[in-house]
């Protein structure tokens, strides 16, 4: 059995303390210089922080051992610098450039993950042991944000189904809920008015689809904090907000779990959140998307049903009205 109390490699061995300290120091220096530059260039508006996207916020990264995968798209990949500098992660600010600036405060080791609810046996696991449970595959997926921009990102992880099988849910379990970490000390600027912790969930048959990826890295490196370190979900046929980041709990249940965005605005963020060009968001059409790639200005391209993964996932929703269950 892999998930024993003592993980094979302790977290302290994975990141030597000295390296980590140096890392933090580099980061602090970078942030300080970026802030000084920003203040000088454009004091009043706060835009300046956005203007160093090409600079890597994290000076050093940890390479992951990965194996290749059959689930790759061949489209041009989004440059790593863009994918790690632009995302929604409201625990670290509501601006899309805020997570890259702020998420360094999150301590991702030691990190434990709880498995509870309708399972044979509730568990508390160390994230490193979960990561080493199966070989990590590098999978190049399309990533479609509900805000009508998209990226192509190589994620590193293994199928969520493998982990769920390990968790051994009871036959009565119908859903799995993902709860994101909520740590007010490490998230000093939590925006007001959100019912954190972030919660998302999948129906169990969706979660068992081999495309659903339990993710630990991207671009061959350990996930940067802003991209959901140390453990996140990626469901490429759904809008990005379905993908819980920094997960601390997998909760198995027989009722559809509440999700943060569904609570905030049920008419805008459905539970299913399947990418669907025929179901508009109230504020914009979903028929097209801006593909963020290496070109200076993103091109507008048509959005595909299920984000182009219809062959693999459409069957899950047979007989469902996807306009109603959006």
């Amino acid at each position: 059995m892999l998930f024993r109390k003592e993980p094979d490699i302790r977290s302290s061995e994975i990141t030597p303390e000295g390296a980590f300290k140096k890392h933090s120091q580099d980061r602090r220096q970078f942030l300080a210089s970026a802030a000084a530059l920003g203040a000088g260039a454009f004091a009043a508006t706060g835009f300046a922080g956005m203007l160093n996207p090409a600079t890597k916020v994290f000076a050093d990264t940890q390479k992951l051992q990965t194996v290749s995968s059959q689930y790759n798209v061949t489209e041009t990949q989004t440059p790593e610098a863009k994918a790690t500098a632009y995302n929604n992660y409201y625990e670290f600010g509501t601006d899309k450039s805020a997570p890259a600036r702020n998420a360094h405060t999150l301590q991702t080791r030691p990190w434990t993950v709880q498995v509870d609810g309708m399972v044979a046996k509730p568990l508390t696991l160390d994230v490193d042991s979960i990561m080493k449970y199966r070989p990590l595959e590098s999978r190049v997926y399309r990533h479609r944000c509900v805000e009508a921009w998209s990226m192509v990102i190589p994620w590193d992880g293994y199928s969520l189904s493998e982990f769920i099988k390990f968790c051994n849910p009871l036959p009565s379990a119908k859903y799995v809920q993902f709860i994101t970490d909520l740590n007010k000390k490490q998230m000093p600027d939590l925006p007001f008015g959100f019912s954190f912790p972030y919660s998302e969930g999948l129906r169990l048959d969706e979660a068992m689809n081999p495309l659903a990826l339990l993710t630990f890295g991207c671009y061959g490196n350990v996930l940067p904090n802003q991209n959901g370190a140390p453990i996140r979900i990626v469901t490429p046929w759904k809008y990005g907000f379905k993908n819980g980041k920094a997960i601390v709990k997998f909760h198995f249940t027989d009722k559809q779990p509440h999700t943060l965005w569904n609570d905030m605005a049920p008419d805008e963020y459905g539970f299913y959140a399947n990418v669907n060009p025929t179901v508009d968001h109230p504020r914009w059409s979903q028929a097209h998307e801006r593909r963020i790639d290496s070109s200076p200005f993103p091109k507008t391209i048509p959005t595909l049903p299920f984000n182009g993964y219809a062959d693999q996932v459409a069957g899950i929703y047979n007989g469902m009205n996807l306009k109603k269950f959006y």
Binding site: T45, T94, W149, P191, R283, W284, H288, I292, P296, K299
Partner: protein, 231 residues
Amino acid sequence: MPKRVIFLLKVVVHLACLAPFVWLLHLYQNGSLGLLPDPVNFITHFTGDWALWTLLACLAITPVRRLHTSLGFLIRFRRMVGLYAFFYATLHLLTYILLFSGYDIPTALAGVQSGHLSEVWTQFKLVWPRMWDDIQKRRFIQVGFAAWVILLLLAATSPSAIMRAMGGKNWQRLHWSIYLAAWLGVTHFWWMVKPGVMSPLRVTIVLDVLLLARLSYWAMKKIRARRNLAA
């Protein structure tokens, strides 16, 4: 205030109002705009923000000059700043039309270069259905567009000759609709952001303070007039 000083101040105000636009051009020129993950999104927010801030600056001139008689000269800059609000609102609208809609700029430019000017219009017709869809369906687009139309009317009637032709009273009435434009602009912002996002709060507070300043000035004038009548 001497004419020379006013002239110099006007230059300063022009430069201050143009600075954001020049900054944007600079970012484009040095390539940092292209390095942003989503420059379209950035330009949209940038021009929208500055449309609102210049509009609020324009609305701030009247209450500020009432603070002291020596500030009366400020009124000479009000029209200018208002026109910059229209300038940024127009850039904001153009961003939406040309960049958000998926308008094929390279093809349109290639058409122009080879002498087929109609290509600009042909490309517009291709994306128009999408825009029409937005105009019909999305209330934040509707109020935003209404605000721009008001600013267009105000800008079109801003030359002194037109003011004279319209007559002061009429002109004044029309130009009071700037309050409506500001209010629609702020509403546009609130309706555009996701629930829970507070980024429109700053402009809302500033607008409220400016409107409140006018209200209290008006109330004070009323009270004073009544007192004078009683005396």
